[in-house]
Every structure is written in structure tokens, then in C-alpha cells.
């Protein structure tokens, strides 16, 4: 039973770290960025390539920087010219971007499956808790989740830039009247979430491996988790990710494995029907945002 629990945490930590990226762009623009999964894969791909010539930490840092740069560029080229368009059209553009990036990665990195080496120990090294095992890399993912959430919370609550980004999400016109350069805030949100996506991609790569077309399935799970926790709330996303991971694993311990996906979709539907603001959000805050 404990082994199932640890396995659920491994699954859940991957969902959670992908979900965090969705929240930043949503927080600033109200857009769901469906290219988030591709940022994840792109970051990992660049890191894998660089890891051939550089030490691992440097490779990851460069990969994150490069993906941030690309995230910013994509926003400038594809989102900014149509920023007054309805949110739905912007979302469709992000879907287009995800396809563009996916095919681009296919041409640059071909169809092979790659992976970064594990950060510590060997491929199979595990930590044993009460007779059950969890891979050390899963702990790295959890740690990275924690660091990212803490950093984001500080950034959004304590820094002027962070507050300005939140202001843009609440009321863009009012934010502009206050002198906030809202266009750049949107660009910054893409840069940040590309960076977080890339970091997520690097940390999970040893667990999930990396292939050019894995982004969309990661993004769907991440999106589910982000909605489950309540869009825009990073800490809730982590909690929801772990919850979903545990839920899935306990489902397969009792039912045939084929029902695993069904469970996450049923949970998503239930949450959308009963608590559309997410499990961990105060309904009032969600209502205000929706209005």
C-alpha cells in the first residue's frame, strides 16, 4: 500500500510541476497556454543536447534561459499583434504554436526518445520508506516544485513587478491607468512560464524520458491539475497534482489499469460541475475573476 502511495507521489509530482506553468500566463492574461507542454519538452531537449558538452547544472540553466527567450519571442510575434482579440482566439493561437513547436522539434531533434541522466545516484537508485521505494529523481521533482512555488509566491506577493502582473490580470485597463506597462507584463508572463516549463522538463526528463510529441499529453494532465486546484493558484496546483497522482494509483490498485485515465477525467468533470473554481479556491475570488 505504501508502495502505491509513493508511486502516486511520483506521478503526481510530474503533473504538479507541469501545472504550475499554466498558472502564470493565466494569472496575467486569462489565456490557457496550450503550448506549455511544448515549453516543457523544448527545455528538456535543449538541456539534453547541451549536457553532451557542458556539466549538467550549466546545461539546465542555459536551456531554461534559451526557452525563456523563445517564450518571449513567441509572445512578441504571435500574441502581441492580436492582443485585443477575444481570449478564445488567443487560446487557439497557442494551440497553433504548440503544433508549430512540436513539428519544429521533430525536424531539429528527430523522433528519438532521449533523457537527461538522473541528478543524483544512478538510474535505479531509490529511497526506501517503510519497505517501499521512491526514486531519488521524484524527490528532486518535489523539491523543484517547492522551490518554484515559494519563489513565485514571493514574486507575486512581494515584488512590484509581481504585483503589477497580478494587477493586469484583475483589470487590465485599471492597471494601465496606474502606469503599468501591461504589454510587457504579458511578455514577462510568457518568459516566466516558458522558463518554469523548461525547468520542469529538465527535472522530469529522467523519469518520463523526452520525445518531441510528449508535450500535448503532459499539457493535458497539467491542465487538468491546474483546473482541479483552481486556475492561477500555484500552491493549489501542486496539492491537486499530488492528489490526482495518488487517486490514479489507488484506482489501478483496485480496478484494471485501463480505468486510470477515466478516473482523472471523471474527477475533472465533477470538479467543473460542482466546484468550477477549483478544489482549493475561495469561490468568491473565482467569481470575481470570472466576472
Amino acid at each position: 500500500m505504501i508502495q502505491f502511495g509513493l508511486s502516486g507521489i511520483t506521478h503526481g509530482s510530474v503533473y504538479a510541476i507541469v501545472a504550475i506553468g499554466f498558472n502564470i500566463i493565466y494569472n496575467t492574461t486569462g489565456i490557457i497556454n496550450f503550448a506549455q507542454g511544448e515549453f516543457v519538452i523544448l527545455g528538456a531537449m535543449i538541456a539534453i543536447t547541451l549536457a553532451g558538452v557542458l556539466p549538467l547544472p550549466a546545461a539546465i540553466a542555459l536551456a531554461v534561459a534559451a526557452t525563456m527567450l523563445l517564450g518571449g519571442l513567441l509572445e512578441l510575434v504571435f500574441i502581441r499583434p492580436v492582443r485585443h482579440a477575444p481570449v478564445l482566439r488567443l487560446i487557439v493561437i497557442t494551440i497553433g504554436l504548440s503544433i508549430l513547436m512540436r513539428e519544429g522539434m521533430l525536424h531539429v531533434w528527430d523522433e528519438k526518445v532521449r533523457a537527461l541522466p538522473v541528478f543524483t545516484g544512478t538510474d535505479t537508485s531509490t529511497v526506501t520508506i517503510a519497505g517501499a521505494h521512491i526514486s531519488t529523481q521524484a524527490l528532486w521533482v518535489l523539491g523543484a516544485c517547492g522551490v518554484i512555488v515559494a519563489a513565485l509566491t514571493l514574486f507575486f506577493r512581494r515584488t512590484t513587478t509581481g504585483r503589477a502582473m497580478r494587477a493586469c490580470a484583475d483589470d487590465r485597463m485599471a492597471a494601465r491607468l496606474c502606469g503599468i506597462p501591461e504589454r510587457w507584463m504579458v511578455t514577462l508572463s510568457f518568459v516566466l512560464s516558458a522558463g518554469i516549463g523548461a525547468l520542469a522538463g529538465c527535472v522530469i526528463s529522467p523519469i518520463t524520458q523526452t520525445q518531441y510529441d510528449m508535450g500535448s499529453s503532459l499539457a493535458i494532465k497539467g491542465f487538468t491539475v491546474a483546473v482541479l486546484g483552481g486556475l492561477g493558484n500555484s500552491m493549489a496546483a501542486v496539492a491537486a497534482g499530488l492528489l490526482l497522482g495518488l487517486l490514479e494509483v489507488f484506482t489501478i490498485s483496485q480496478l484494471p489499469v485501463a480505468y486510470e485515465e477515466a478516473v482523472s477525467i471523471v474527477v475533472l468533470l465533477l470538479v467543473l460541475v460542482c466546484r468550477p473554481t477549483g478544489l482549493f479556491a475561495r469561490p468568491a475570488a473565482g467569481a470575481a475573476r470570472a466576472a
Binding site: G96, E103, L106, I207, T208, M214
Partner: protein
């Protein structure tokens, strides 16, 4: 107004991306196929051959080497003067692994291009979708997919070149018997390949004396299998069999070690790809899988009948594409060579005559084994097309043949394992 235009542009761009990417991928892999298109007649008119491969998408690890191989081989054949003085015109299309798309492409090849034969598709699901279409239109189909159902029930125009999954399963069970294993857990991916393998594993288990303690299907996009493996661990199995052709094959090995499931891991011939072995790293060591001999071409004894063809293909492919060969590319190689040999024998491109010529091919050394076709057998391979392979120190090695296999004559290994003349096949042992 400028922003209006930018608006339109972006929306249009996003809308165009889906078809455009597919077209690009197909175009990139299509060799210059614009010779004057005369089909059928003419002593030196090109012979049109269609090829449908999953060059992109989740099965790209099958389709990409297949497409490269076909392109390379057709160039070689045409440079040598073609077949009976006529060049082969290869029309290659990418299905993305999508059965509906494969069907559309096959219709196009048959109705518009009037091809003599279609090579591919890469996957079993796609092949089954176009099996009847090809049969009804008397277009030869040489499939590169494994499922038994492609040639059983038999369709007179449909052939396949990969070995049978049923034979792979038998070889796995024979090996297990030698190792004293009788209680197994099966996990398979939720796609055509996994489903067909799971069916054969469960069907043959009884007659081979195996008890299937647990059989689970996991999602084909699954990236972490510790959950399902924990469940398997709870069933107290002596070995795990994983049947998939996906990257999850490397995951299984890692995840088993991680949760401390210390029993032998058997995989399908889908593991016959050096990349998966590399991706699994040290945890791949000890994995057992039945496979054709392409991956072990170098360590085969010199007098092995397949040695020459395997080394020729491997050397040419690897020097041209700077990439490792995989058994899948070998399937395209076999399909095209069998087709051209049949055209030579038939003395022309008459579909009915070529069909008969394929059925009469005997003792043809291909990459997947020695092909012996007949009017009842459209696969042409027997269980001794397979070799039981294992991974030692990150390298693929040949395992000694199981006792039940050694007891069979190499040429006609029957499906049931009654021991026959003890003239044994030379068991190639690796160091």
C-alpha cells in the same frame, strides 16, 4: 488596419499548421517521384510501388527507418538498372500512424496511381484497415506489421514480412520453461500491437504450461509504470512480460528496479531497437527478448545463411544515415526485395503473376529470417527467424536457444513443440 491584417494572418497561420506540417513531413521524405507516369505497359516504363509508413507520430520509430530504407534500396535498385530493365518508382507517404489516413492514402495509390503493390503500413492497426481494400482491388500488400491477423485468415494479395507474434510468444515461453518459470505477469500497451501480443500471450500460456497471474493494459502514452508494476508485484510472479513497441519499454526496466521487483523481464521484439536499450541504461541489463538477427549481425557465425544480407543492409544503412539499424527498417528492406525478386521471376508487373511468384519464393534470406512462402503461408517465416536476445553490460547478446528449440530441425520448426529429429540448429552462443 495593420493590426487587422496581423489578426487574420495569425489566425490563418494557426489554422494552416495542422495540414501543412503533415504535408511537409511527407514531402521531405518523398524522393523525386516525377518521372513520366505511365503505368502497366511499356518495356522501360517505371513500375509504380506505393509505400505507407508512420514516418511521424507515436510510431515514428517504426516508420522513419522504414522510409529511409525504402528510399535507399530503391535508389540502389534503380542505379543497377532497375528490375527487368524497368526502374521502380517509389511513391512514399506518411500516415502518422493513423489508420484512417493510411486508408485514404491506400485508396489514392490504388485509384489514382494504379500502383502494382503497396509496401507497409508500419503498424498492425493500419494494415488491418487496408487489408480488404487491397484484396478487392487486386493490389499487392506487403505489410511491415507483425499481427497474426494480417495473414490469418488468408487474403490472396496480402503478405507480411515481420515474423509472427505467436512465434515470439512461443520462444519466450520455451525460454521461461528452461529457467523454471511458470507464473507470469503480463503488461501490454493499449494499442493494436499491445492488444495482439496480449491475446497471443494469454492464448498460448495454457498449452505452454504457463500461469498468467495478472494481465494489465496500460495507456500507450504512459510515462511512469511504477503503479501498474506495484500491482504486478503484489501478484507474486516469477517473471514479467511487457508487450509494446513504445518508449515505455525502457521505462519498464527502470521502474521494476526502482520498486524492487527483482524478477526477469521479458519484452517483445519491439525492444529490438538499440535506442531503447540505451534509454533504459543499466537497468536494461538482463532483459530478455525474442528478435530477428539484425541487431546481432556482427556476432553471428560466418556461415549463417543470413549473415551476408544482414551485414550488407547494416553497412549501407549505417554509413548513409549515421544511425543504428533497427529491425523495423529491415522489414521494409525485406518487403521491397521480395517484391522485386517476384517481379523478376514473373517477368513483368502483372499483379496476378507477381502474386504467384511471391508464393513460390523459397529459401530467400532476408533480414527477418529465411522466407519460405506458399499459397497457404503469406508470412513465410517460422519460429527460427527469431533468436532469444538479452542485454549484457549495455550490449545486445544472443542467449543460448531453449532446449525445446534445439530439438527441432531448423528448416521446419512446427508450432507445437513435439520433439523431432535431434539435428540441432547451431546454437549461437555469445560471450
Amino acid at each position: 488596419m495593420a493590426s487587422r491584417w496581423a489578426n487574420l494572418l495569425c489566425t490563418a497561420l494557426a489554422a494552416m499548421l495542422i495540414p501543412a506540417s503533415a504535408v511537409l513531413a511527407a514531402a521531405a521524405s518523398q524522393p523525386a517521384a516525377s518521372q513520366p507516369a505511365v503505368s502497366g505497359g511499356g518495356a522501360s516504363a517505371p513500375i509504380k510501388v506505393g509505400a505507407i509508413f508512420a514516418i511521424t507520430g507515436p510510431s515514428a520509430n517504426l516508420g522513419l527507418p522504414e522510409s529511409r530504407t525504402a528510399e535507399m534500396l530503391v535508389e540502389t535498385i534503380n542505379a543497377a538498372g532497375g528490375v527487368n530493365g524497368r526502374p521502380i518508382q517509389l511513391l512514399m507517404k506518411d500516415s502518422g500512424g493513423d489508420a484512417a489516413k493510411a486508408q485514404a492514402l491506400a485508396s489514392q495509390f490504388i485509384d489514382e496511381e494504379h500502383v502494382l503493390a503497396i509496401i507497409g503500413p508500419s503498424t498492425s492497426g493500419e494494415t488491418m484497415r487496408i487489408k480488404n481494400l487491397c484484396q478487392e482491388n487486386k493490389t499487392l500488400l506487403l505489410s511491415c506489421a507483425a499481427a497474426e491477423t494480417i495473414v490469418n485468415p488468408l487474403a490472396s494479395y496480402v503478405f507480411k514480412v515481420p515474423p509472427r507474434d505467436a512465434d515470439a510468444v512461443r520462444l519466450i515461453y520455451m525460454t521461461m520453461k528452461d529457467h523454471g518459470i511458470s507464473r507470469i505477469g503480463i503488461i501490454s500497451s493499449s494499442d493494436g500491437y499491445g492488444g495482439a501480443g496480449k491475446g497471443q500471450l494469454e492464448k498460448i500460456a495454457g498449452e505452454s504450461g504457463m500461469t498468467v497471474a495478472i494481465s494489465e493494459v496500460y495507456d500507450k502514452g504512459e510515462t511512469d509504470l511504477t503503479g501498474v508494476l506495484t500491482k504486478v508485484k503484489g501478484a507474486n510472479v516469477q517473471a514479467v512480460v511487457n508487450w509494446s513497441a513504445l518508449p515505455s519499454q525502457s521505462q519498464v526496466a527502470k521502474n521494476m528496479k526502482q520498486i524492487g521487483l527483482d524478477v526477469p523481464l521479458y519484452q517483445s521484439m519491439g525492444f529490438g531497437n538499440v535506442k531503447y536499450v540505451q534509454a533504459a541504461g543499466e537497468s536494461a541489463n538482463g532483459t530478455l527478448f525474442p528478435c530477428g538477427r539484425l541487431l546481432v549481425a556482427e556476432i553471428l557465425p560466418k556461415d549463417h545463411p543470413q549473415k551476408a544480407v544482414l551485414m550488407a543492409y547494416k553497412t549501407e544503412y549505417e554509413s548513409r544515415y549515421k544511425d543504428n539499424v533497427s529491425t523495423f527498417g529491415g522489414h521494409a528492406y525485406d518487403a521491397l526485395l521480395i517484391l522485386t525478386e517476384a517481379i523478376k521471376k514473373a517477368g513483368g508487373a502483372d499483379p496476378e503473376k507477381v502474386r504467384e511468384a511471391i508464393e513460390n519464393i523459397k529459401g530467400h534470406a532476408g533480414t527477418a529470417g529465411i522466407f519460405n512462402f506458399s499459397d497457404k503461408d503469406h508470412c513465410g517465416l517460422t519460429i527460427d527467424g527469431f533468436e532469444m536476445l538479452t542485454v549484457r553490460d549495455g550490449k545486445i547478446a544472443i542467449l543460448a536457444q531453449p532446449a525445446a528449440m534445439k530439438a527441432m530441425t531448423p528448416a521446419s520448426a512446427p508450432a507445437t513443440m513435439k520433439s523431432m529429429a535431434p539435428a540441432a540448429a547451431p546454437a549461437a552462443k555469445a560471450k
